[in-house]
């Protein structure tokens, strides 16, 4: 029974990202033995693992939205721009308010940012689902224009606003845990329940596998595609609130820069195919944490800045290769051969 379950685990494609995650953590522990230690500091937990959770939350969120988009055979390149816009928009509202420390102002600003993101996401959805523009091109428009919008909001400056309640979103703590990972966790749970406990997940997958066939089968593909792009923008907007809150500054140039690539990578590492169809939310979660742990590892074990990118690329290539179908069949074959060798060899001998 246990053996069978273990075999299932090893057959799963998720095994490689999990191994990568464990290997990275082990590397860190070897380099600095205190890596896994967590202590209480000012009433909240403090340690490298907590950092990974807190800094990983935005990637988890963006990758969550991206998973659904990719499941419909799409892609959303505009998430980084939405991150920049949402942070800039929320902080400019908080900054202009008479009292930046008022909780109502902060909630209002966050809500306004999310509404703005719904508009932006609907724009992407409109281009893709109604006008049938290829997702990569449709979202590229907002990817390019979005940073311009963020720059307009901040007037080309880095907005700095000190607001205690706003600071909580990305840098604060609830129940001794980072607020950002709790927000991301709740969003993740909601999506998991909504798509896996209802037929929604299956409908999304069917649209990704064959939009035309699903339409003929009575699935309103257009509404589903429109919704996933809007949802992706909402996820990106919340991530944007976290990123700007973490440093209490909105930087239109660098906030969320390349986060779309990290998110796509997290989705792919998690075993969801870019060709659409089946998706794995758990896989995305693991993928996102592999990426964040990789970043933290680079800083912790002191890899020279010049070779940082090469190091990251090597880890990613290794995981992707090990995960690939070709490698999988090779490995299975090798195992079968090893198991079969004693039995097969003599029969062959008799035949020849």
């Amino acid at each position: 029974m246990i053996a069978a379950r273990l075999r299932d685990v090893f057959r799963s494609r998720l095994i490689w990202p999990v191994i990568a995650l464990v290997a990275l953590l082990v590397t860190n522990v070897i380099k600095s033995p205190g890596f896994l230690s967590i202590r209480v500091q000012d009433g909240h937990l403090f340690g490298s693992l907590i950092d990974i959770l807190r800094n990983g939350a935005p990637i988890v969120l963006v990758a969550l939205g991206m998973t659904l988009v990719i499941a419909t055979r799409g892609i959303d390149l505009s998430v980084g721009a939405v991150v920049a816009i949402s942070g800039a928009f929320a902080l400019s509202i908080v900054g202009d308010a008479p009292d930046p420390n008022d909780l109502g102002v902060v909630l209002g600003a966050a809500a306004a940012s999310i509404v703005f993101a719904i508009v932006l996401g609907s724009w992407n959805g409109l281009l893709v689902s109604v006008f049938g523009i290829q997702p990569i091109i449709a979202t590229l428009i907002l990817m390019t224009a979005g940073r311009g919008i963020a720059m307009l909001i901040t007037e080309g400056q880095i907005l700095t606003v000190s607001s205690a309640p706003y600071k909580v979103i990305g840098g604060g703590y609830w129940f001794a845990l980072p607020a950002s990972i709790i927000i991301a966790g709740v969003m993740f749970a909601l999506v998991a329940i909504l798509t896996r406990k209802t037929a929604l997940g299956m409908l999304i997958e069917s649209v990704g596998i064959n939009p035309e066939a699903s339409r003929l089968a009575g699935v309103s593909a257009r509404v589903i595609v429109w919704t996933v792009y809007t949802f992706s923008a909402v996820c990106a907007a919340i991530a944007g609130l976290m990123i700007s809150s973490n440093v209490t500054a909105a930087d239109a140039n660098s906030a969320g820069l390349w986060i779309e690539m990290d998110a796509i990578l997290a989705v792919v590492l998690g075993g969801t195919s870019l060709a659409g169809g089946r998706y794995s939310l758990t896989g995305t979660l693991i993928g996102a944490f592999v990426i964040q742990t990789l970043t933290t590892t680079v800083y912790s074990i002191g890899i020279a800045p010049e070779i940082t990118l090469v190091f990251k690329a090597l880890v990613v290539i290794a995981v992707c290769l090990l995960q690939s179908p070709v490698m999988n069949t090779r490995i299975t074959k090798m195992r079968m051969r090893r198991r079969r060798t004693p039995a097969v060899a003599p029969t062959r001998a008799t035949v020849s």
Binding site: F35, I136, I243, A249, M261, T295
Partner: protein
Amino acid sequence: MNRFALTRGLGAAAPTGSRRGRVRSVIGLAAAGAVLFTMSGCASSGGSGGGADSLTVGFAQVGAESAWRTANTKDIQESFKTADIPLKFSDAQGKQENQIKAIRSYIQQKVDVIAFSPVVESGWDTVLNEAKDADIPVVLTDRSVDSSDDSLYKSFLGSDFVAEGEKAGEWAKTEFADATAVNVVELQGTTGAAPANDRAKGFRTAIEGDSKFKIIASQTGDFTRAGGKQVMEAFLKSNPKIDLLYAHNDDMGLGAIEAIEAAGLKPGVDIKIVTVDAVHDGMQALADGKINFIVECSPLLGGQLVDIVKKVAAGETVDKRIVTEETTFTQDQAKAALPDRKY
């Protein structure tokens, strides 16, 4: 935040094929618009002005990518206004082709001096030769060009990044004069960028002879706050004792301050901090005692540029390399200077 060369490659590879054509035509349109715009500007100023000994200068700016650059643009425009020299200004929006077009249009308009901050280091020989043939002197500001022929420009006015790193190192030496061992961590700028390389080099030159200084960790924070914060968080966990933080710009230092505070330490006291730039938020932190020392990298080079332009136009020789007038700030100096800061 996190940069993956591989994914960036993946992301870029997919769209380029279908995108390049469009992008090119858009750039072409924009450039055409820019030329039209500057030409009409020329016509109007030619009609109204026309003083015999009046001097006209064309300036091609990089873009408006940061607060530093915005301050740079403003200062140059204001300095020329005060000096009563007509300035033709163009913004290249970070694209070399826009900048080359702008310089060509200045050559056609027969301005007296062309000044510009090159977007990139290479690829300027052709257009600078055109200026040379038209007998228009060129002055570089803030950034240099990489050319074997240094007769192509009269002078290069800008900061000396190596000297900035050295100033930071010299301060560290006096600050820790009585200490026996100093553990230094460094937040570098974007890997490969000239200010990052030079500021790292200058700092190391300054502390080289002093064996008590030890750089125990050095990593890039990409010149951003978020980068500075994340890297500093990791530094604090893997290095139990840090005495000094050297950040290549204020923004990374500001991010690091948050990380230090989150770790229950006092920035500026438990860990001394020295940064480069002196932008407004950095100066505020310095005045608040969270940063100990800032080496200025000033965008306010308008005044010096006006002087150079006047000399060059009058046919006088100027130095090939002129360093921007820059200072350093201690906490008290920051408090005094803060109310009058332009950026």
